[in-house]
Every structure is written in C-alpha cells, then in structure tokens.
Amino acid sequence: MSTYYASLLAESGILLLGALSVYIILATGQLSLGNGAFMGIGAYLSSYLTVALNVPLTLALVISAIAAGIIGAIVAFPALRLKGIYLAMATVGFGEMVRSFFLNFDTMGGSGGYRGMQHISVGYVWLWAGGILIAVMLLERSRVWLEMQAVHDDETAAGLIGLNTVVTKISAFAAGAAVAAISGGLFAHHNVYIEPANFGFERSVDFVLAVILGGSTVAPGSLVGSLLLVFLPEFLRPIADWRLAAFGSLLVLVLLVRRQGILDRSLIRMLTFRRAAA
C-alpha cells in the first residue's frame, strides 16, 4: 500500500470517529454542529500529554476522552433547555468559542499551531476506529440505546414511561465528546501538526455530512459516509475542482430521496440475507 493511500485510510478512520461522535448524540434527537471543538480538545490535550509530559499515547487518548467527556456533560447540561435548531446554533457557538480559545492559547502555539508529536501508523488509527465502531454497534443492541431511541422519538412519552431523559441526553453528549476527542488525538498524532483552524465549523460539518450521507439510523452508516467522503474524490479526479460541489449535491439529493442516508436497517438486512442465502 502506498503511503498516499495509507494516509487516506487513516484520514477516513479519523473521520469515522468524528462521525460516530455526531451519530451517538443524534441518536437522542440532538444535532451537534460543534463536535469539531471536542475533537480539538482531544487533539490539544493528548498532544500536550505526549509531547510535554511523555505520557504514552494510548493512555493520553484515554485521558483526553475522559476529560472531553466531562466537558461534554458540562456543556450538555445547560443545552437541555434547547431543542432542534436552537440547540444546533448553540453548538455552533460553542465550537467557535473553543476554536477562539485555542487561537489565544499561547502555551500551545496559539494561531501558530503545535507540533512535536510522534507519527502513528494507519493500523493504530484503525485499531481505535474499528474498535469503537464495533463498540457502538454492540451498544445499539443494548437497553441504553433503546432509551436513547425513545428520547429521540418522543421525549415526553419517554419520561412518562419511566425513563430518565435528562441522564440519557447528557450521557449521549458526554460519550459523543469522548469519541470526538479520540478522533482529535489520532488526528494530531497522524498529522504531527495541529492548529486551531483544523477544528472549526467546517470540521463539525464534515462529521455531520458523513453521518447524514452514510446513514443516520445505523452505526455502519458512519463508516460508509466516512469512506465516501475521503475516497470518492479519488474516483472523481477528472472533476477534482468540483468535488465539494459534488458532495453538496449528493447531500441535497440524499436528503430529498433517502432521508435516512445510504445505509439503513432494511438495507443491512437485505445485504446480510443475500450473503447468507448465497
């Protein structure tokens, strides 16, 4: 495998984690357009740990995930008051605040960025990405996930059948933030250079894009979306300059004809059934 394709593969693994971070929060009916910020927190914190304090990378990622999870829970608490578009706007605001914070965070380079991280292999990236994808797929069969779905479908009814909707929504935010932080830590150690602009609004939008295109009702949808976003441009070389427009059009098209995204429960069932029958 050429280094070029290896780096694309690593990129898609990192994007997959970002997409999953949005997916987990979206499963409770909350749209976050600020997960780039949690990614940034993970990137900066883990880099600081490995570079300045010589903490082993895996431990640094775990610490960053926990820290981001706590921040996520703190952010989610006031956000409970907001729904739909208003929540989405607040998360945009949060994302911009965090980006602005890192711009002023001179200890770690401010607008000049931060470097010195040890490069990691694509295999290490996918160990995390694949592991977390499988964990989320298992989670989808759990009782907690059913509770999340209930909150997504009808929050009031969920409360009235005995579910603690507050805990569910906050936990989803915390878990999403933790996954985004791991994505950020991997990004930082794969790129070996980070700057605040890496974690702005566009990044958050990429995550959402991968989820919505790939399929927003099943975890493997995020996988499909991430691979699509990273590898499709390779097949679109002839229209390289227009690939973003192609994605924009694809997004609109998917929303118009297949709102749940490319992959959904029934498509998965069909594919697995066919394989079993063959």
């Binding site: 298992l138 989670l139 069969r141 759990s142 009782r143 907690v144 059913l146 509770e147 779905q149 209930a150 997504h152 479908d153 009808d154 009031t156 009814a157 969920a158 409360g159 009235l160 059948i161 005995g162 579910l163 603690n164 909707t165 009702t217």
Partner: protein
C-alpha cells in the same frame, strides 16, 4: 382499613387562572378497576398528567401507597409503580413492538450491563417481553414497526408497554376510544384478566356503558370538579351526573 394504593387529596391544577382541576379527592384501592368519567374538558386527562408528574399540582397531595409523590419527576413516579397510556397514542416511531416491550421495563441491572446487548446481559427482560407479548396476543407482530400497525393494535401495544413496567397501578386514558364493539370487548376482557393477575387499574373513559359494566367504583368530573362518586349503579341513578351529561356533546 389498609392504605389505598393511590390517594389524592385536594389536588388542584390551574392553567392561566382557569381551574382544570380543583380540590380533587379520590382513592384507588388495590386490586380494583376504578373509572373516571365526565364530559369533554372535564379535567380527566389533566388528572392523569398530574398523577404521573407530567404536570406539577398547584396544591394538594398525590400519595402512592402512603408515599407523597406529588413533587417527583415523572420517571421516578413510574419506577415507583404507576404506568400509563395516552389518549393520543404515543408510540415510538422508530421501534418495533418487541423494542417497545423492552424499553419500558424497569432495570435493576448494573450500569455496565445496560450498555451490553440485551440478549447477553438480560435474558430475563426478554422473557418478560415474550410473556407480555403472548398475554396481549402480539407475538406474531413482534418485529413490525409499532406505528405501522392498525389503530386498535397500537392501543394494545401501548397497554402492553405500560404493563411490562410491572406497575402496581395502570392508568388507561380512553383505552377504547375509536374502537368498534368487538375490539372494545377484547380490551375489556384484557383488563379483567389484568385485574385478576393483581393489577389495579384507573381508567378514563367517556363511554358510559363501557365503564358501567367494567368498573368497581366511579368518579365523575365536570369542569375540574368532582361532582359524584360511587358504585356504577349509584352513579347511574345520580341526578347530578345525568345533568352533567345531558345536553352535552360527548
């Protein structure tokens, strides 16, 4: 006399100065089917919403087995033993019948087990769901999205969802609204079978005949005020009740 399962004293709820419920007093003894009747807008659903904590009572007390639950959040009230259905069916759009029966079960397992696939971590929950599904005759429909089912069956799914929570008290909000005679009879026999298993039922209904033949005791509401109570035959003979119903479109 033993403490009644549910006891309301002076429960009052106002919306913008209008009394939706004023000074409501009632008792639901264990193992009985109790009905609340009254014309449209009499405050019946407000009563349910106040009992289950969807609304906060402005005054008065709601006691479950002697415990004051008036200020509790609704999920705690449910876990304490009150489950309900809704007048406008509220099923979860993305879930199958089976999933409805799993999600509503109270969980005693530790936090990390709740994160594992139910099939590994909690076979007991699956057994319970199977059992309730069979009781309600829903086994065939296990994997169907609940919202795609006919109206009468959706009502049954909602009742089954409430029952899987193992409540002490089941609140049914117009369980036979919009059903034909046969469907209503089926629900009636289900309710009697449920009571025979030891469940206590409080239901709202405005079909007088239906409640007369089913309930052990009745409360009659009009404009948020309790105007009569008693055994069905007493209520039927009460002139105040007839007045409230006469000339009113129900």
């Amino acid at each position: 006399m033993s403490t009644p399962l549910l006891q309301l004293t002076g429960v009052t709820k106002t919306f913008g100065g209008i009394h939706a419920l004023s000074g409501m007093v009632c008792e639901v003894p264990e193992g009985k089917i109790v009905g609340v009747i009254g014309p449209n807008g009499a405050g019946k659903t407000t009563l349910f919403n106040t009992i289950t904590g969807a609304y906060r009572a402005d005054a008065g007390e709601v006691k479950l087995k002697g415990v004051d639950v008036t200020q509790w959040p609704s999920y705690r009230i449910v876990r304490e033993g009150i489950a309900r259905t809704f007048q406008n069916i509220r099923l979860f759009g993305s879930m199958t019948v089976w999933e409805h029966l799993l999600v509503a079960q109270p969980h005693s397992e530790s936090a990390w087990r709740r994160l594992l696939p139910i099939a590994w971590a909690n076979p007991a929950a699956q057994e319970r769901a199977e059992e309730v599904m069979a009781f309600f005759g829903l086994t065939e429909l296990r994997d169907r999205p609940a919202k795609s089912l006919p109206y009468g069956i959706q009502r049954k799914v909602e009742m089954a969802r409430a029952v899987t929570a193992r409540p002490k008290l089941l609140l049914l909000d117009e369980p036979v609204a919009g059903m034909n005679h046969d469907e209503a009879e089926e629900i009636r026999s289900l309710m009697i079978r449920l009571r025979d298993t030891g469940l206590t039922i409080l239901l709202i209904e405005h079909d007088m005949n239906f409640v007369m033949r089913l309930c052990d005791y009745l409360y009659v509401l009009d404009f948020g005020v309790l105007i009569a109570e008693g055994k069905p035959e007493e209520v039927r003979a009460n002139p105040v009740v007839l007045d409230a119903y006469l000339g009113k479109d129900d």
